[in-house]
Each structure stands twice: as C-alpha cells, then as structure tokens.
C-alpha cells in the first residue's frame, strides 16, 4: 500500500522579480512511496524540494494536481512528522515541553515524549531550555518531536545541514534506528548524494527549476551500511558513471551547496 501518492501538475509562485509574473517551482512531478520505505529526494537548491514537502504536509494547498497521504488529502490525513532545516524549537519551553506540546493524547498516555527523548540520549536534559543546547542536541529534540506520535509519514527537509560531520553521522544513526524500530515511512530531502546512499532505500533525483523527477533509483546496497565506508563512495561513483547526465548536475549541486549552506545558516539566525 502506498502511504504517499504525489501527482503535481504544476505549482507556481507569484514572482515579483518578473514584474507580476509567476515562477513555476514544480511541474509534472509524480511518484509514490510504499509503506515503510525510506525515500530520499535529491536536487539542486531552488528545485522546489522544500515546496514539495510543504505541499505534502498540507502547509501549502495552492497547486494543480493531487496529493494523497494514507489515501486522503493532506489536510485530512493524520498529522505527519516534520523536521525543518533548522531545529525550530520553542525557546521558552524546556526540552520535554517542546516534545509534549506536539504529542497526541495517546502518545502522552504511553509516556512516549520522555521515552523518545531518552532514546535520543537527552534523558538528563529534559528540563533544559533549547538555547543552552548545542546545535546537534537541538536537532535531536526536533527529531524526537517529529517521531513522538509515530506518524504514518515523516517529512525531513535537509535536517542535518550545517552540522559537524561526526554530529551529523550520529543523528543519521539515531534516525535509522528509529525508522527500523517503528517501520516508519520517511521522505528525506537532501543535496548530499553520499547521505542519500547511506540512508535511503531509494533516491528520487529532481531537476532544477521547475522541479520534476529525472531519475528514480532503488539503492541496492545491503544494510547496515557504514557512512564513511568505501562502499558508499564506490556506489556513488558507479551511479554517476551509469547516468553521466547526473554527473554534471551533482557537481553543480555540490558547488551550490557549499555556498548555499552558509546562506542558510545565516538565514536561520
């Protein structure tokens, strides 16, 4: 059964830069995600990845096309888990309250908020305020928040961007454990091909604007995989050789990302 079905004909934004014209962010984008799959979406910045997640989550309902989450429109679907590019925690609430606020009555009844924070190794920081935590710890709180209700679908929008490599790898590990234990369905947006190969069952490559899917690739690498191992690098090399057209796109994307990361970090301040 597909947890997610996407068929977006077109998504436009008004574009002040073009004097009242519009900018087409997404065009003719179709895919489906079966239950339990870890799907990565890879695309250059500006390819409409974040826009796509906003359409799926129901945050933005103005587009041509159909999106079905668990068989219904996003707004009628059970709440999804969402992790943004920055942690976006409520600074006036303690770590525990930040998760509690978003926990369903059912999740609270079985003590999920505390349990998941303990799994994220935040057990001794329950009463701490977010601004006293490191960036990596804040992401762990955001990850706990996204998972607390065991949502049918999790949307992660470049959640581990601008972190030190060891911290990012630890978070990936926590995410994979959580995914394996709860049979969650995950849609993970990234611009890092290595990250996608390490984490995903499948990668959807998006074109630059207007975004559409140019390649739908199932990853044939057995789990568990090691992030820093040679296998991921070899797989990446192999994939790029098989699809030479991707090669240019990926290089460009990595160059953009190096610049884009800085821009985004300052933007979230």
């Amino acid at each position: 059964m597909n947890v997610l079905e996407v068929d977006v004909e077109e998504k436009r934004f008004p574009s002040p830069a073009r004097g009242g014209g519009t900018h087409t962010a997404i065009a003719k984008l179709q895919f489906a995600v079966p239950k339990g799959e870890f799907t990565c979406i890879l695309g250059p910045s500006g390819s409409g990845k974040t826009t796509l997640l906003q359409l799926i989550s129901g945050l933005d309902e103005h587009f041509d096309g159909v999106i079905r989450v668990a068989g219904v429109a996003p707004r009628d679907a059970p709440p999804m888990g969402y992790m943004f590019q920055s942690p976006r925690l409520m600074p006036w609430m303690t770590v525990l309250d930040n998760v509690m606020l978003f926990a369903s009555a059912e999740a609270k009844a079985r003590g999920a908020p505390r349990a998941i924070l303990e799994r994220m190794e935040l057990g001794s920081f329950l009463d701490t305020y977010p601004n006293r935590l490191s960036g990596g710890m804040q992401r762990r709180v955001a990850l706990a928040r996204a998972f607390v209700n065991n949502p049918p679908l999790l949307l992660l929008d470049e959640p581990f961007i601008s972190l030190d490599i060891p911290v990012a790898l630890r978070l990936r590990e926590l995410l994979l454990n959580q995914w394996a234990d709860h049979a969650s369905t995950i849609l993970f947006v990234t611009h890092d091909l290595r990250e996608a190969i390490h984490l995903g069952d499948r990668i959807l490559f998006m074109s630059s604007s207007p975004g559409r899917i140019v390649l739908d690739h199932k990853i044939k690498l057995p789990r568990p995989r090691t992030a820093e191992g040679a296998e991921v690098d070899e797989y990446r090399q192999h994939l790029l050789e098989q699809h030479p057209a991707l090669l240019d796109g990926i290089r460009e994307m990595e160059a953009q990302a190096a610049v884009g990361t800085d821009a985004r970090t300052t933007a979230t301040r």
Binding site: S57, L59, P79, M80, G81, Y82, F84, S86, R88, M90, P91, W92, M93, L101, F102, Y129, P130, N131, R145
Partner: protein
C-alpha cells in the same frame, strides 16, 4: 570619580564596597540619603512649603489611624486596578488583531494615532460631560487613554512573531487554541510585560488627575482638598503612601512574573 551606587555584584568599585554602597543595602541607603537631604532642605525652607520628614510621618500616622488613608488609597487602587485590567485586555486584543491582520491595521491605524495624540485631560472632560461625574466615566476615561498605548506595543509584538515557529504548529496540526496559547502569545510576552509595566506607572497617575477633576473620594480628591487648604504635609503623606503601594505591586507581582517568563533566556 563616580562611586558605583547602582553597580551590582563584585564588579563594584572597591571604595564603594568598602562603604557598603553595593549589594542589597544600596537601595535602602540611597533612600535614607534622600530623606536626610529632605530634612536638611526643610531646615532652610518655610515649614508650610516644605514640611520636615517627621511632620509628614506624624501626619501619615494620623490619617492611617483615622482610616482616611486606607479608604482613599483603597478607592483609588480599586479604580486603577479595574481600568488596568480592562485596558490591558482590550488593548491586547486590538493590538493582536492589528498586528496579525495587515488590512485591519491599515484601516484602523488612523484611529490608533488619534487615540495616542488625544490629551488625557480632553478624554476625561468629555467622559464626565457625557456620562456624569461617576466612577464609570472615570474608568472609561482612563481606559481610553491607555488602550492605544497597549495596542501599539502589542501590535509591535504581534508583528515580531516568528512565522517559522507558527509553521511548526501548523505542520503538526496544533489546535487553534494551543497555537494561540502555547506558540503565539509566549512570543509576545515581553511586549505584554512592557505595556503592563508602563501601564502600572501611567494609570494610577491619570486616575489621580481624574479624581481631582470629578470625584469626591480617592487620593486624587484628597490631594485637591489639601492643596486648597495648603496642607503640604498631607499632600506628601498621601503621595508617598501611594508611591509605596505602587512600588510594592511592582516588586511583588510584576517583577516575579517577568523573572518567571524570561527564565529561558541566557
């Protein structure tokens, strides 16, 4: 060379700390110094114009035991409190609407400006003319004076709300009521506190003026009577009592609230 009367903690000037001018006692000491200055000054002045501190204290003791002080301060406090809560509630609601809805803001901005620039006295006079010399007219006048001030502060707060955090609430399908109480309002808390603080300082002063203008009880009325009798000692006794009450409210209610709400900073 300045002596750090107002400096806190260990950073105080060594001389200042030797003299005991830092720490919790500095405030008491500075108040005592003020009274001493007053006493010295009163020695040179006509006692009718500037009575000595002990004369004012004796008179304060007298009106305290006669019950006049308690009754008048009580009445004024009651009027100030009611006006305060109505003005805060109304001003906050208006500020929230203006801050969150640009069209409403655009339309009503002129009204707010008008309200801000209307002299307090004019509002008071008009209310007494329209509604008679009643408590209702007084409270209405005070509220009308304060509401625009609360509204612009809260409006600023509502405009400073981070859309990213609201989006989190939307993505996780928070109920409207939780969104308001747990996500929107906490971001505006500093602005509520700022207007509560300035409200406390402003409202009781306006209440006194309006009591003087059109009521026959309360501290403002007593000040008017004693002004006409040239009882400067009693004017000072009433004024100082009321200042004391307001400072107590600030220390016992406002400051602890502020401390609790800003615990997460730092």
């Amino acid at each position: 060379m300045t002596i750090g009367v107002g400096t806190r903690g260990r950073a105080a000037h060594p001389l200042a700390s030797n003299l005991g001018l830092s720490g919790p006692w500095s405030r008491v000491l500075s108040l005592v110094a003020l009274v001493v200055l007053w006493k010295i000054g009163s020695g040179y002045a006509n006692p009718l114009v500037l009575p000595a501190p002990e004369i004012v204290a004796a008179d304060w003791w007298k009106i305290l035991w006669s019950g006049d002080l308690g009754r008048n301060v009580g009445v004024t406090l009651y009027r100030a409190a009611i006006s305060f809560f109505i003005a805060m509630a109304l001003g906050s609601a208006i500020g929230l609407v203006l801050g969150r809805m640009p069209r409403m803001n655009h339309f009503f901005d002129g009204w707010v400006l008008l309200g801000l620039n209307m002299p307090a006295l004019v509002v008071g006079i008009l209310c007494y003319i329209w509604f008679g010399l009643t408590d209702l007219a007084l409270i209405l006048a005070v509220v009308l004076n304060k509401v625009p001030l609360v509204a612009i502060t809260v409006r600023e707060g509502a405009q400073a709300v981070q859309p990213e955090l609201l989006q989190v609430g939307q993505a996780f399908r928070l109920s409207r009521i939780k969104m308001l109480r747990r996500v929107l309002l906490p971001q505006m808390y500093p602005y509520f506190m700022a207007s509560a603080r300035s409200g406390l300082a402003l409202i009781w002063k306006i209440v006194l003026v309006f009591e003087l203008l059109g009521r026959s009880d309360g501290v403002g009325f007593q000040l008017a009577v004693n002004f006409q009798l040239f009882y400067v000692h009693r004017v000072l006794a009433y004024a100082l009592s009321f200042i004391g009450v307001v400072m107590l409210i600030e220390a016992v209610i406002i400051r602890p609230m502020e401390r609790r709400a800003t615990r997460w900073r730092l």
